[in-house]
Symmetry: C2
Subunit: 515 residues, 2 copies
């Protein structure tokens, strides 16, 4: 008897394995696929990790044109080797969109798989190791993990081992898992059951500004898709795998307020020249209450109400709140500890950063000329990105500010005591699929072969540009995350737990052969 | 007839000069000294500028031990060459205090001259040129000045030319002016009228933490001083020279508030994990009202009331407010345009800097782990530095915060929803001399020989550690600034207008021979 591996959850599990000759003809279907994938990653774990590490070593900031192209070419080549027809679609000033397709004999369904190959910008100073030099740890750094050598063939891989590197989870892990899943099925002669299309985005972390144009320019390639599968995001915070039916949209803005037109000596002018930091603090303080409630007029008005089906799903999922508060070192979370599952169903106003002159040992006795904030907005169904920024701008005006788009000139400074430069960001709306769509039912069944305790989540807090695909077809869109939730996504020391990578191989294998 | 040079004010003036053989014996007294100084800087301007530039090229951050010592040795050598007995007084972990003395035959009075040779920390990125590579401009950069070559002997020097470098004004200009004044008097055989002591501080911009100990350890050197003369700070904002009878004290604190113990993805946790930037904004917003009024309980309570003599002096000085608002690009200043002269007579709460994660193109979609502010406090007579920080701490506590001295540990985080790390800075109280002290009267007369329109100012907004000298003797303490007020002191592109340097030479010459 074969023991079920607890690959996804953080609990370490002894690994038993029975070998055995491959039967002819191969058994088919999700359960067989999961079994084949498990055999495969057990026998080829060191090589899978090595290949993944090589991919992680290619820097992937979307603004780094040279390396981003190297990523695109490398990834296209890897899928081309496995029989996919690959193309790099191009647009001026944009990273390539990697497109691939594979016809499956007798398939009546076409599924599209989305992954993004760019990563969040890195701040090297915060990283324990350089972000593009992958390092293997015996477990999470924060749990006392230690550096260990990368495995060689024959080594048993502990599922709690973690690779640390930018994009280890977000979002190169799906490439590694998908490639291994394909290899596993091919080695075991298990046939795919769908036609497959690949769409790999190169600027997701920069807002996918060109994806809309790419989809429009190549509409013929995407018109026959029956199910969109988005491979991104972390697993549920309970430690269980999940399938997700919606994502929040995202937008943001930069706000800069002004003091004197140059830094002034805080002794000679302190108490006379208005400090921009005080102005910014008062302005931001007026936007969000201590209980987490956003005070901007109509901020919650356009959000669609939460459906009964969604509410039931939230209630059915294990609530990770207490564990997360402990993990993240917070005595209390917003709205008097309101559940995370509910909180991500409403729009969020986030303060991503603040900057004015310097603090700590670098602080000087100066009244700085300006103070800036970076504000992010997470959107739910019903919120229009631009209209949400309008609400913030209206609020800033109501606090007495004159709004400008560039640093104010002499005339503007002479006229308005309070001036705010607002830099509007692009963004995109939320996406929400029905949880009872019949096209998704076989996928749920397949995934349960890989993960018995699959959570069906109405919404992911994070954002993906899925609204575009929603607009482009009637096909349902679901998100299949594989990463551990504590992957430090978007921060220093991003990582993936190898057990999660291996779950991904099994889950994708099951998906590729779903009924 | 010799025309009076308008050296101090910004208006350019044609320069006429009558040569002539030196009479024997030399005329004495302040008027003769000013005349001799004027002859001297007219004939030796290029060399004075060159010597000054060489001194500015030695980096002088107080934390740069090697270069700070090089400054000290260089300056001591320059005064030693001119007949002063020089010593570098030493203390562990502190820059040397430069001490010098010169006995004057028949003098019944000892004056002490204080200058500091360290400069504010620099942020090279903000500077048009590296801060320790002096550059000469035809006038202020902000007025369209252009780079010009340094003068050679024989060149006529325009008083509107400016040298750009760190400490050009604050506070190396007094060294250049004093050395030239001494040379001018010696060349014209004009005798000093006081015994002179020199005290040159090497860590004023870092708070003069060791000056107290230096004074205590060498109390015998300072016990016979009859008048303290502090050469630092800018001229009056009207463009006129000034003699100042008080300085604000200074202290400060760093405040850091916390969110999650690591950066969290703003999508997955935005609206649930409290953002530290919001917390900091609300906290700071509670400290100071939009009209400039500090809302911290008892903040204004310990300040001594403004005397009638001081009020009269403020009223008598030209009010620079409208011009400064225009120059600094502000439609309105604090407290509904209340006069600068009054505002610096009360304590100030300044926000020197803000920092949380990143803004602008470097911003990431993250809930940062912390947000920090750097707060400066300017003090007036009656304010105790430590007690003023206590008031801020009490205020922070009243906003619901638990105060810590180090980043909070797991236990503290679990216990307190709101945690603020307060890093208290050292500091010192204000100093205030009587404007009608008889020891100061001859100095006022002497300075009027160099500057007819001398302003007598009760208070300088900036800070100097003069309280120590106030404690150490009964002698009055006055400040004689020479720098142009628009010198970008404490900011990038610090500069001095050469007309102000030359005024300094004349003023110091007059001071050295006062009745």
């Amino acid at each position: 008897m074969r023991m079920k591996l607890k690959l996804f959850t953080a609990a370490a599990t002894a690994i038993f394995f029975t070998g055995g000759a491959m039967a002819q003809p191969s058994p088919q279907g999700p359960a067989a696929a999961v079994s084949a994938a498990r055999d495969y990653h057990y026998q080829n774990g060191a090589q899978i990790v090595k290949n993944f590490s090589d991919l992680l070593a290619i820097p992937n900031d979307a603004l780094d044109a040279e390396n981003i192209r190297l990523n695109a070419e490398t990834i296209a080549h890897l899928f081309s080797e496995r029989g996919f027809a690959m193309q790099l679609l191009e647009q001026d000033g944009a990273p390539p969109l990697i497109y691939g397709s594979l016809e499956t004999l007798g398939a009546t369904r076409t599924i599209a798989i989305y992954v993004h190959y760019d990563g969040q910008p890195t701040e090297d100073a915060d990283w324990t190791f350089p972000p593009f030099e992958p390092v293997l740890y015996s477990k999470a750094m924060s749990d006392g993990g230690e550096i260990i050598p990368f495995p060689v063939p024959g080594d048993v891989i502990d599922p709690d081992w973690r690779i640390y590197a930018r994009s280890a989870s977000d979002d190169k892990a799906p490439f590694a898992a998908l490639l291994a899943a394909i290899d596993a099925l091919q080695e075991s002669n298990i046939a795919f059951t769908s036609n497959i299309k690949l769409i790999f985005d190169g600027e997701e972390e920069r807002g996918s500004d060109h994806l809309d144009d790419y989809l429009a320019a190549h509409a013929d390639k995407f018109s026959d898709i029956d199910l969109w599968l988005f491979c991104d995001g972390p697993g549920h915070q309970s430690g269980n795998p999940q399938l997700v039916f919606g994502v929040r949209g995202v937008t943001g803005l930069g706000v800069t307020v002004y003091g004197p037109n140059r830094g002034l000596h805080s002794g000679h002018y302190g108490n006379w020249a208005p400090g921009p930091g005080w102005r910014l603090s008062r302005l931001l303080g007026s936007m969000k209450a201590a209980d987490g409630n956003v005070l901007i007029k109509d901020f919650y008005k356009s959000a669609e109400p939460i459906s009964a089906l969604d509410r039931a799903a939230i209630a059915a999922a294990p609530a990770p709140d207490d564990r997360l508060r402990k993990l993240f070192g917070m005595a209390e979370t917003e709205a008097s500890n309101a559940p995370l599952g509910e909180r991500i169903m409403i729009p969020a106003l986030n303060l991503r950063g603040l900057k004015s002159a310097e603090v700590g040992s670098k602080a000087r006795n100066v009244i700085p000329p300006s103070a800036s904030a970076s504000i992010g907005i997470r959107l739910v169904k019903g919120n229009d990105p631009s209209a949400m920024i309008d609400l913030v701008e209206d609020h800033i005006r109501r606090q007495g500010y004159h709004i400008v788009r560039e640093d104010p000139d002499v005339k503007t400074r002479a006229k308005y005591p309070l001036i705010a430069k607002v830099e509007r960001e692009s963004g995109y709306p939320a996406m929400k699929s029905r949880m009872d769509d019949p096209m998704v039912a076989p996928l749920i069944d397949a995934l349960r072969a890989a993960a018995g305790d699959l959570i069906l989540a109405p919404m992911l807090g994070g954002s993906l540009p899925l609204y575009m695909f929603e607009e482009a077809s009637d096909a349902p869109i679901v998100i299949l995350p594989i990463a551990n939730f504590d992957n430090n996504q978007h921060s220093a020391d991003e990582n993936i737990r190898l057990g999660n990578l291996f779950y991904g191989i099994e889950a994708y294998a099951a998906m590729l052969v779903m009924e």
